[in-house]
């Protein structure tokens, strides 16, 4: 049990003496200048060494994130497709249908668009964009686009005959509102809100709200998972830190083994264990503990997400804890006990406070990873175990509403930064110890 005690070694002390007179080098330059030059050369060399990494981070991390944030406000579709209409619409009060001259301008825009090369036509993206704000707007645009070049005055009747939405002031309000290069509409939607007919922001119908409750659930799930990894990881890390090195290494491999297994394999293993006809349920039924008709639902719900993610993220808690605990000298605990502390007091007042940097580091790591986790909740989370990242992935891959995905992603990023800032204020980021 006795170990080498690195912390007890006295820190090496250095003494400095201030120069009393101006010193020069052998070639007569001031020592200060020569030193500064040498320093600068070293700094440039150091910069050149990190330059590839810096370049890599800028290109593949900072730039894509900036581009994603840009997408969440970028709104070129209406401006590009309907320049004449927007100009004619500038004086419209948003109540009744716009006057005939607006419809004439709309006709001019459709004609101009039909004359562009196919790849540059703007009506397709316009329809997709407007449909995010108003259902069936895409149909109105695409069906009209085929007929519009043949329309004749009066255009108002021609358009309202082609699709009922052209006779609905709601569509015109959307065109007027979104006829700007930047939009807040994606953030409004990401906050479960919408614009009313006067352009004020209001809550959506109750049966269409999803994102805020998902954000809250994501944070609660992440906190729960972080806490569980702490509960499970702390004793393991402690045990590892007091074992002799060769046993500790063996045990460490057991901790790391899941780390080296494919994520999908681990997740599928949980499906085999937890499902209703799975190993655990069948064992419980076989032992007569539960009835065949009351098998437990442990997967495809929140329980599934929590169990599988706790397992997957455990090493991220154990490793920082272990590396901190290794450096805590056992002599401190012995000293506390010899001074009269009970074992629990010694643990609480002497040992535990020294593990805080490890807990902080592990906690922040697990929390930040789990807040953006996506594959595991998608496979074992069912509906109640879904997280906001699943919704972002859906908008990226299926609904293809990249603006909304970018807004949700930006909100998640800002949320994490705020939480990190809070952590820094309360605990101090310099107390993090990652190993």
């Amino acid at each position: 049990m006795v170990q080498a005690d690195a912390g007890a070694m006295p820190p090496s002390t250095t003494t400095t003496t201030a120069p009393k007179e101006k010193l020069t080098t052998s070639d007569g330059r001031s020592l200060k200048t020569a030193l500064r030059q040498a320093e600068r050369r070293r700094r440039i060399a150091a910069f050149l060494l990190v330059a590839p990494l810096l370049f890599f981070i800028l290109t593949f991390f900072v730039f894509p994130i900036a581009q994603m944030m840009w997408r969440s406000v970028d709104n070129p579709q209406v401006v590009r497709a309907l320049p004449n209409t927007l100009e004619a619409l500038s004086g419209w009060d948003g109540r009744d249908l716009p006057p005939e001259e607006v419809f004439a301008a709309l006709h001019a825009d459709f004609v101009a668009d039909s004359e562009r090369p196919r790849r540059e036509q703007a009506m397709g993206p316009l329809g997709v964009r407007l449909n995010y704000e108003l259902s069936a707007a895409r149909g109105a645009i695409s069906r009209t686009a085929r007929q519009a070049p043949n329309f004749e005055a009066p255009f108002r009747d021609a358009f309202t005959d082609a699709h009922r939405l052209w006779g609905d002031p709601a569509l015109w309000r959307v065109i007027q509102r979104e006829g700007r290069a930047l939009t807040s509409a994606y953030y409004v939607a990401a906050l479960d809100r919408q614009f009313d007919e006067f352009g004020n922001i209001e809550l959506r119908d109750e049966n269409r709200r999803i994102y805020i409750s998902l954000f809250i659930r994501t944070i609660l799930l992440s906190v729960a998972i972080t806490f569980l990894t702490f509960l499970l990881g702390f004793p393991i890390a402690y045990y590892l830190s007091i074992l002799p090195m060769r046993y500790a290494n063996l045990l460490m491999i057991c901790v790391l083994l899941p780390f080296w297994t494919s994520l999908l394999v681990r997740t599928s293993a949980w499906i085999v264990l937890l499902q209703q006809q799975g190993v655990i349920n069948s064992t419980l039924v076989g032992l007569g503990i539960i009835g065949d008709d009351s098998r437990l639902s442990m997967i495809y719900n929140m329980t599934g997400t929590i169990v599988a993610m706790t397992h997957i993220l455990l090493p991220f808690m154990v490793l920082p804890l272990y590396s901190v605990m290794r450096t805590i000298p056992p002599s401190y605990m012995r000293a506390a006990k010899s001074l009269g502390a009970t074992p629990s007091t010694a643990f609480r007042r002497v040992y535990f406070p020294q593990t805080l940097p490890g807990i902080g580091a592990g906690g922040v790591l697990v929390f930040i990873i789990s807040i953006g986790y996506y594959i595991t909740p998608a496979l074992v989370g069912g509906q109640s175990g879904r997280m906001i990242s699943n919704e972002i992935a859906r908008h990226m891959q299926q609904s293809l509403n990249w603006g909304l995905a970018a807004a949700l992603g930006t909100m998640l990023l800002v949320g994490v930064l705020v939480l990190y800032w809070l952590y820094n204020r309360l605990v101090g980021a310099d107390s993090l110890k990652l190993g």
Binding site: P117, R118, R119, E120, Q121, M123, G124, P125, G127, V128, N131, Y132, S135, A136, A137, R138, G139, S142, A145, N207, R208, R209, I210, S213, L214, Q275, Q276, Q277, Y300, A378, G382, Q383, S384, R386, E391, M396, Q397, Q398, S399, L400, N401
Partner: protein
């Protein structure tokens, strides 16, 4: 060990070189994007292999990216680097891509083979299946499937209405986690005529009615996301009913021998087919391939490998036996008369127009 592996690798590289050197005739490699799994296999055996035998200089690379095809097409068009030659996708996504100009418009009569009796392509493909930029290959359907052993012999389910009847047909139901098909079936089970379903879903009252019907089975639902999950849940006994694609269910029943039964009542029918990315790298080679792969015989051949119906009327008579199992495929086609008695034809325009709003409402409903 490592040395052995190195030698083996070297041997493989040398033989590869030898193969490619043998093909002097301007080699072309076509990247064809499809859905993967049994479906891609059916295309490989019905289209790719015969074409490559006739044209030894063509190599076909299969990419399983169809689930995210529209996202991929957009990304490639924006980057100005189109690497896909041909993409298998759904007509709703194809219409969006077509409106955005990132796939080629198709002149069906000029670009595709006529039927053997001379009927032009535009009349030979099933009515309503052709799109501006879309060439249909198959008709597939989403069907309700159940485990007979989950119910007593004298009370087996037989209709979509039974899916919504938890009193007489207890057990969990696996539904897909999106509004499509589920809302249609809710109204269908509530007694709405298939022809009126989409008109009704376009009104707020119709949507409320569909969700009210779904509410009646809400506590008995397990949601699935990927096509392979539905037969798996059914096979594991996790659920008594599952909705799924008829081709996958056919595979589970006939190939794997699972004891499932398909209910063809209210099957939701949709097309699936090819689009050609604009500015693709090998347009000429692709159009030659496409002319071959969409002719009457080839579409009929595909039905020998998977139970999806050919999209040409002239192919129906040529559908024969399954290539490996030897069973007659005609009765397994969604379009077979004995199966096609109350179909709901999926309305893509409706889903493009109202999909965003209904998906939000459905997501909200699932989360409650």
């Amino acid at each position: 060990m490592t040395r052995k592996m190195k030698i083996a690798g070297l041997g493989a590289a040398v033989s590869l070189l030898a193969i490619s050197a043998a093909q002097a005739n301007d080699p072309v490699s076509l990247t064809i994007v499809s859905w993967g799994g049994a479906y891609t296999q059916s295309q490989v055996r019905a289209y790719h292999q015969p074409w490559m035998e006739q044209n030894p200089h063509v190599t076909i690379i299969n990419d399983d990216g169809s689930a995210n095809a529209l996202a991929g097409l957009r990304a490639q068009a924006q980057a100005g680097n189109v690497t896909w030659d041909l993409v298998d996708m759904l007509p709703s996504d194809a219409q969006l891509a077509c409106d955005e100009g990132i796939i080629m418009p198709i002149d069906h009569d000029a670009m595709l083979a006529a039927a053997p009796d001379g009927t032009p392509a535009s009349e030979d493909f099933l009515p309503g299946s052709l799109g501006e930029c879309f060439i249909p290959q198959i008709v597939y359907s989403t069907v309700l499937t159940y485990r007979p052993d989950a119910f007593p012999d004298d009370a087996q389910p037989s209709s979509i209405a039974d899916l919504f009847d938890v009193e007489n047909f207890p057990g969990r139901r696996a539904l897909q986690d999106r509004p499509g098909t589920n809302l249609e079936w809710a109204l269908f089970a509530d007694g709405v005529d298939p022809d009126d379903i989409y008109d009704m879903l376009a009104t707020p009252e119709g949507v409320d009615r569909a969700f009210a019907k779904l509410d009646t089975i809400r506590d008995h639902i397990v949601f699935w996301t990927e096509g392979a999950q539905a037969p798996q849940l059914l096979a594991d006994g996790e659920v008594a009913f599952a909705t799924g694609y008829n081709g996958r269910m056919f595979d589970a029943i006939e190939v794997e021998g699972q004891p499932f039964e398909i209910i063809w009542d209210g099957q939701v029918v949709e097309w699936d087919g090819w689009v050609v990315p604009a500015d693709g790298p090998n347009l000429d080679a692709v159009m030659e391939y496409l002319y071959f792969a969409t002719d009457t015989q080839r579409l009929a051949d595909q039905a020998s490998f998977i139970s999806y119906g050919p999209a040409r009327a002239s192919s129906a008579a040529l559908v024969g036996d399954h290539a490996d199992l030897g069973i007659d495929m005609n009765e397994h086609m969604p379009t077979a008369p004995e199966n096609y008695f109350s179909p709901i034809v999926l309305d893509n325009d409706f889903w493009v127009d109202y999909g965003d709003e209904l998906r939000e409402r459905f997501a909200n409903w699932m989360l409650q």
